[in-house]
C-alpha cells in the first residue's frame, strides 16, 4: 500500500531523514519505533505533505505522491493524526469531527459521523462541549476520531499513547487493534516499544534519521540489538 524509498528531508540546512526505506502492506499494523529526535514525526509529516521531501519517492497505492499538497494526499486516503492531540480547543467536539470530513462529499459526512460515534461512544456524550475542555484521553480519541472522519485507507498515528495513563494506554492500543481488524491499515509511530510490538505485524526502528532495524515484530523482539538499545535488557 505504501512504499517509501531513500526518502530524505529536513529543515533548512539540517538533514533529518537520511534515506528512509519503508513499506506497508494493506491491512497491516506497522510500528515505527525510535526515541525522541530520531525523525519519526518529521517522517510522518513528510508522508502527509506537511513537510516537503528533498529526494526519494513515496508510492501510495501505486502512485507517487511525494511533493503533492496535503489536500491532495488527504484526498487519496492517507490520513495523518499529528502528535500531541492537536484538537481545535475552541470548536465543539462535533465541529472538530466534521472538519475531518472536510475533503469528503456531503453525503458521506453523516455516515462517517455515525461510524466514528460507534467507535467512540464517549464523544457522542460530549458533542456540544468545546474540545479544549475534554480530558487528555478524550482529546486523543477525538483526534483519532477526526482522522477517521476523513475515510482513511492508511492512518498514521503519531504517538497516540503519549501522556496517557497506563490504563488509557492499554485502551488506546486495544482500540488501534480494533480499527485494524476492521480492515484499516495503520502506521503506528511510537516510543512505547513493548506495547507497539504486541499489536504490530512488522516494525521499523529508526535511529539518527535512518532505519536501523526492521522485520517481523515477534522476531525483532528477540533481536539482541533491540533489547540492548531500547529495552535495557542483556
Amino acid at each position: 500500500m505504501l512504499e517509501v524509498t531513500s526518502l530524505r528531508s529536513g529543515y533548512g540546512a539540517v538533514e533529518v531523514l537520511r534515506g528512509i526505506d519503508l513499506d506497508i502492506e494493506a491491512g497491516e499494523i506497522v510500528a515505527l519505533l525510535g526515541s525522541n529526535g530520531v525523525g519519526k514525526t518529521t517522517f510522518s509529516s513528510v508522508l502527509s505533505g506537511l513537510i516537503r521531501p528533498w529526494s526519494g519517492t513515496i508510492r501510495f497505492k501505486g502512485e507517487e505522491i511525494q511533493g503533492l499538497s496535503e489536500q491532495a494526499i488527504v484526498d487519496r486516503g492517507l490520513i495523518h493524526v499529528p502528535e500531541g492531540r492537536h484538537v481545535f480547543p475552541n470548536l465543539s467536539v462535533r465541529e472538530n469531527l466534521e472538519l475531518g470530513s472536510y475533503r469528503r462529499g456531503r453525503a458521506n459526512r453523516a455516515r462517517n459521523l455515525d461510524h466514528v460515534v460507534d467507535i467512540f461512544p464517549r464523544l457522542k456524550e460530549r458533542f456540544a462541549q468545546k474540545a479544549g475542555t475534554l480530558s487528555g484521553g478524550e482529546q486523543q480519541m477525538l483526534a483519532i476520531g477526526r482522522g477517521m472522519m476523513a475515510e482513511p485507507e492508511l492512518l498514521i498515528l503519531d504517538e497516540p499513547s503519549i501522556g496517557l495513563s497506563p490504563l488509557l494506554v492499554e485502551e488506546m492500543f486495544d482500540l488501534i487493534q480494533r480499527l485494524n481488524s476492521d480492515g484499516l491499515t495503520i502506521l503506528l509511530v511510537e516510543q512505547n516499544v513493548l506495547q507497539s510490538m504486541e499489536i504490530a505485524a512488522r516494525a521499523f526502528v529508526m535511529e539518527n534519521g535512518e532505519i536501523r532495524l526492521s522485520g517481523v515484530a515477534s522476531v525483532l523482539m528477540d533481536d539482541p540489538e533491540l533489547q540492548r538499545s531500547y529495552l535495557g535488557l542483556a
Binding site: 499529528p82 492537536h86 481545535f88 470548536l91
Partner: protein, 322 residues
C-alpha cells in the same frame, strides 16, 4: 439560529434611532458607533476568527476612501459607483497583502509588522502622488442630494452605515455557522492540525483577509462621503488601524457581538474624556494605548467575555451551539 434572532432584534432596535432621536448630535454619535462597529467587525473576521493580528487595516480603509474620493474628484464618477469600486479595490489590496504574507507563512508578530509596513507604504505613496492631492489632501465638493451620496440630513447616512454594519455582522454570524468559518477557526486554533486534515490554510486565510478588507474598505467609503475630506494621515494613518483592532479587543475577539460592545464602550470613553479633558491633540491615542494594556491584562476575552461570565453557565454554553 438564536444568535441570528438576537442580531435581528438588536439591529431593529438600532434602526429605531432616527425615528426617536431628534438631535443631530446624538444621531451622529449612533452613526459613529455603527461605523466603529463596522471597522471592528471587519478586523474581527481576520483577527478574531482567523487569529491573524493585522496592525494595518488602514490599508483597506484608506484604499476604499481614496477610491471613492479620487474617482469623484478626478473623473466625476458617481460615489454610489465609487462605493462598489472602493469595496473592490480594498479587496484587491487585501488579496495582495494576504498573498505576499500568507504565501510565505508569516504568522504572529511578523504578520502584524508587515501589515503595519504595508499601511505605512500606502500612506507615504498617497502623500507623494498628485492624483490623491498629496499632503494637502482631497476635498470632495459639496453637492448635496441622495443621488450623490451626500444626504442633507444625517438620517440618510444612518441608513447607509446601518446597512453596511448589518451586512458585516450577518457575514460574521455566517462564519460562526459555516464550514468556511469552522475551517478558519481551525486554522486559528491549530494551523498544522488543520492542514493535516486537508484544510488549505493559505486559501482560508486569503478568503478571510479579502472579506475583512471588503468591510474595512466600505467603512472608508462611508468615511469619505460623511466628512468629505481625506488626507494621507486620516486615510492610511495608524489611528484607523488601532481603532480597528481596539474595538474587537475591547468587545471580545472572535465573537459576533464583541465589536458592537467594543464600539459602544470605546465611544462612551472617548466622548467622556472629551468632556473632561477637552480636545487635546493626540489624547485619544494615549487613551487607546492605556485601554489596550488594561484590556489585555485584565479582560483578555473582552466585554463579551464578561457578559458570558456573568451569565449562568448552562445558558452560556447553550448559546454557542443553539
Amino acid at each position: 439560529m438564536r444568535q441570528l434572532v438576537i442580531l435581528g432584534i438588536v439591529f431593529a432596535l438600532i434602526g429605531l434611532a432616527p425615528f426617536v432621536i431628534a438631535s443631530e448630535f446624538w444621531l451622529n454619535l449612533v452613526i459613529m458607533t455603527l461605523y466603529a462597529a463596522l471597522l471592528g467587525q471587519a478586523w474581527n473576521i481576520l483577527g478574531g476568527f482567523g487569529g491573524q493580528f493585522s496592525f494595518g487595516h488602514a490599508a483597506y480603509f484608506g484604499t476604499g476612501a481614496y477610491t471613492v474620493a479620487v474617482l469623484q474628484v478626478q473623473l466625476g464618477v458617481n460615489p454610489w459607483l465609487g462605493l462598489v469600486a472602493g469595496g473592490l479595490m480594498a479587496v484587491v489590496v487585501a488579496a495582495g497583502i494576504g498573498f505576499s504574507t500568507f504565501r510565505y507563512g508569516l504568522r504572529g508578530s511578523y504578520f502584524a509588522l508587515v501589515t503595519l509596513a504595508f499601511a505605512e507604504v500606502l500612506r507615504i505613496l498617497s502623500n507623494s502622488v498628485d492624483f490623491t492631492g498629496a499632503g494637502v489632501g482631497i476635498l470632495i465638493p459639496l453637492d448635496q442630494g441622495a443621488a450623490n451620496f451626500q444626504f442633507v440630513s444625517k438620517q440618510g447616512f444612518f441608513w447607509v452605515i446601518w446597512l453596511m454594519a448589518l451586512a458585516a455582522f450577518t457575514v460574521v454570524w455566517w462564519l460562526g455557522n459555516s464550514r468556511f468559518g469552522a475551517q478558519l477557526m481551525a486554522v486559528r486554533d491549530n494551523e498544522d492540525a488543520a492542514r493535516a486534515l486537508g484544510v488549505s490554510a493559505f486559501r482560508v486565510k486569503m478568503g478571510a483577509i479579502m472579506l475583512s478588507g471588503l468591510f474595512s474598505g466600505l467603512a472608508g467609503v462611508f468615511y469619505a462621503q460623511y466628512f468629505l475630506y481625506l488626507d494621507p494621515y486620516i486615510a492610511y494613518g495608524p489611528a484607523i488601524s488601532i481603532e480597528s483592532l481596539l474595538v474587537p479587543i475591547i468587545g471580545g475577539m472572535g465573537t459576533l457581538f464583541g465589536p458592537l460592545l467594543g464600539a459602544v464602550g470605546l465611544h462612551l470613553i472617548s466622548e467622556l474624556t472629551r468632556e473632561l479633558i477637552g480636545d487635546l491633540p493626540g489624547i485619544s491615542l494615549v487613551l487607546y494605548g492605556i485601554l489596550l494594556v488594561i484590556m489585555v491584562l485584565f479582560m483578555p476575552r473582552g466585554l463579551a467575555g464578561l457578559v458570558n461570565r456573568l451569565r449562568p453557565k448552562s445558558a452560556a454554553t447553550g448559546a454557542r451551539h443553539a
